[in-house]
């Protein structure tokens, strides 16, 4: 049976052109780009070319791009650097819905004497900009806010937030792992100092990340070692993956429009049809300011793991914010921060599409999911078919 992959916010398939670009660097072109001989030197030209493609996707200059091993490394590098260059400051601003790469790091830093403000979000996952502005202080060393949320796709107004931080001389970092390639980004038109993203979310392989650092931003490296990346990130370059990422960024620049037309159309179709055919279902997050490929839908009174495993029988791949799938005992921190009631949070499913999805696949899911939901609800002690509870109830959250 064909795999229907609707979990592209987790990772994506490597595009065939990307793989093709990478292959020579695993075989004949194995040289070290730092070598003096031209055999190695030719690889450094490839890296330069890739750097240009990466920079071009986000409207940056090639010198502003540092290659890392993943999004998490980029996030850690950015935040730790911002703290190191401002040793007299001890305040960090972030949000409650960040990815663990930022959230866990900041929680860790609170134990090391830093004060961390985790900005709340409203029911639709939106940031309170007034509260953000009031949180900025003289002691603030860095602001780190994600561009788009991985679970709901909700987009934060990071460019405006960066402007407010910039006016006060505070460094601004954004985790743009989910945003790059899905929405247009132009770093020349904003005041964001540092931006992280990751290759495997845009059809490049796993194990390659990017940290953008605006020219003139004070920076201290996280990985010390050789002179690679102009001394800003030691370690021999992951040449094949860098070449692949360059290609992926070139493709992404071409596909951004498709993401916002065809992929968005498929996402909207999936969402609308499921909401129509399944009672007591609701979209989590602001539907206006949202990534074009993501929808997070809660199905009331059932638990997400069951939904995923029954979908798995049809080779449909998605994710859930339920406690059981996260490995912890509580549902997703993002949905909890939004105050999604427990009856809804446990039964949430995230579908995230890519340019590789087809309308046939979406129709298949629209067809298969309603009976799965009905079957699990029959088993649920909370589901009363004779008197369905409509809409959202204000269940008190803990």
């Amino acid at each position: 049976m064909k795999t229907i992959y609707l979990d592209n916010n987790a990772t994506t398939q490597v595009a065939p052109e990307v793989l093709e670009t990478m292959l020579p660097y695993f075989s004949e072109l194995y040289g070290n780009p730092s070598s003096m001989h031209s055999f190695g030197g030719q690889v450094s030209k490839t890296i330069q070319h890739a750097r240009e493609n990466v920079a071009s996707l986000i409207g940056a200059d090639p010198e502003e791009i540092i290659f890392t091993s993943c999004g998490t490394e980029s996030d850690n590098t950015a935040i730790m650097s911002a703290l190191s260059v401002a040793p007299d400051k001890s305040h960090i601003i972030t949000s409650r819905v960040e990815h663990p790469a930022v959230k866990v790091l900041c929680e860790h830093l609170t134990q090391r004497g830093y004060r961390v403000t985790e900005l709340p979000v409203d029911r639709d996952g939106r940031l309170d900009m007034e509260l953000f502005e009031n949180s900025l202080s003289r002691d603030t060393a860095v602001v780190s806010l994600m561009w788009a949320n991985n679970e709901t796709g909700v987009i934060f107004p990071v460019e405006r937030a960066a402007q407010l931080a910039h006016e006060r001389g505070i460094l601004f970092h954004t985790d743009a792992v989910q945003a790059v390639g899905k929405i247009p980004i132009n770093m020349r038109a904003n005041n964001i100092d540092m931006l992280s993203f990751s290759g495997h979310k845009l059809h490049a392989p796993k194990g390659i990340g990017v940290l953008y650092i605006r020219k003139g931003t004070r920076f201290l490296p996280f990985m010390l070692g050789g002179h690679q990346e102009k001394g800003r990130r030691g370690g021999t370059e992951n040449t094949a993956s860098i070449a692949g990422l360059g290609k992926a960024c070139q493709l992404a620049a071409r596909n951004v429009e498709t993401e916002n037309t065809r992929v968005k159309y498929l996402r909207d179709k999936l969402e609308d049809e499921l909401l129509k055919s399944i009672p007591n279902s609701k979209v989590n997050g602001d539907r206006t300011n949202r990534l074009p490929n993501t929808t997070n839908i809660s199905f009331e009174f059932i638990e997400g793991e069951g939904i995923l495993l029954l979908m798995d029988q049809f080779n449909i791949c998605a994710s859930s914010g339920s406690a059981c799938t996260s490995g912890s005992l509580q549902p997703s921190h993002v949905l909890r921060a939004m105050g999604v009631p427990f009856t809804m949070a446990h039964g949430s499913v995230r579908f995230s599409l890519s340019v590789f999805n087809t309308e046939d696949e979406i129709d298949f899911v629209i067809n298969k999911l309603p009976p799965i939901i009905a079957r699990l609800r029959e088993m649920s002690p909370y589901w009363k078919t004779e008197s369905p509870v409509c809409g959202i109830r204000d269940t008190a959250t803990q």
């Binding site: 090391r112 793991e305 495993l309 029988q313 446990h346």
Partner: protein
């Protein structure tokens, strides 16, 4: 992805005895939607006072559904005296085992059975004097004691896997540790069964922590002009104070917790949590 046995998968895909018996002889509702697991269990007796029919409705993950399905199959044909002896382990064994983190699903089944039998016999569902220990998941001291005793649990993490207690805000970890200590001191290991991990006395634990710091941790800190002192050990919390260069360097402290905790978990006990002494 969870490693479920084929039997768990089979009982999840084709659960037995889903539903509710009308006019049951015993009924119980355990868990809650906030906890992410809930089970409604009903049974009916035949003329010989054996369980003729048992049914369930479950809100929860695949292993919760499979555990409830297994429970209804297990108890069919049993007298109440036989059924009350069914443990959570029997349910898990019936399914060919459950992942450690999912053992609470089998505990939920056992609790439902126990309450339904009590209901059948006209007894109150909860014994007087029971106290809630974990506020997040509403778990009582008696439930924790029972899980610790029957499954030979030795760490807070294991208790969380089996009962969910301590899986939320973590404020009750000390209380849970106290229950573990109490149960493990009073109960002798049964027969030939070895407890999973040898329980350390507090003095042994402190000595081992001191040794590990001296041997594994201090030398590498001293290289950078730092040092660390053990201040206190409260249950599984190890309170330390950093000295020298470590005490003033914010960035190095970031890796310090990682290093100390990793070494102590490796050489002393996997449940340890390292905290820095408040300044």
């Amino acid at each position: 992805m969870w490693e479920y046995t084929d039997k768990v998968k089979e009982h999840f895909i084709n659960p037995r005895n889903v539903g509710e018996i009308e006019n049951p002889d015993g009924v119980a509702e355990v868990g809650s939607i906030a906890c992410g697991d809930a089970l409604k269990f009903t049974f009916k007796l035949d003329e010989n006072k054996r369980i003729k029919e048992a049914k369930f409705k479950t809100f929860g993950c695949a292993s919760a559904i499979a555990s409830a399905s297994a429970l209804t199959e297990l108890v069919k044909g049993m007298t109440l005296e036989e059924a009350i002896k069914v443990t959570n382990k029997d349910i898990a064994d019936y399914l060919g085992g459950l992942p450690e983190e999912k053992m609470h699903c089998s505990v939920l089944g056992q609790q439902a059975l126990e309450q339904a039998i009590a209901n059948c016999q006209g007894a109150p569902a909860k014994e007087p004097g029971e106290q809630i220990v974990c506020e997040c998941f509403g778990v009582t001291d008696r439930e924790i004691e029972k899980a610790v005793r029957e499954n030979h649990l030795t760490t807070v993490e294991e208790v969380t896997n089996y009962t969910k207690a301590g899986g939320g805000c973590t404020n009750c970890h000390e209380k849970i540790q106290a229950i573990i200590d109490r149960v493990n001191i009073t109960s002798e290991p049964e027969g030939l069964k070895e407890p999973k991990q040898k329980k350390l006395t507090n003095i042994q634990k402190i000595r081992m922590i001191e040794e590990t710091i001296e041997r594994e941790i201090r030398p590498s800190l001293k290289q950078d002009g730092g040092d660390v002192d053990l201040i206190d050990v409260i249950g599984n919390r190890v309170i330390v104070a950093t000295r020298g260069a470590c005490a003033t360097c914010k960035a190095s402290q970031f890796t310090l917790k990682g290093l100390i905790e990793q070494k102590l978990r490796e050489f002393v006990s996997p449940g340890l949590i390292v905290e820095e002494e408040p300044k």
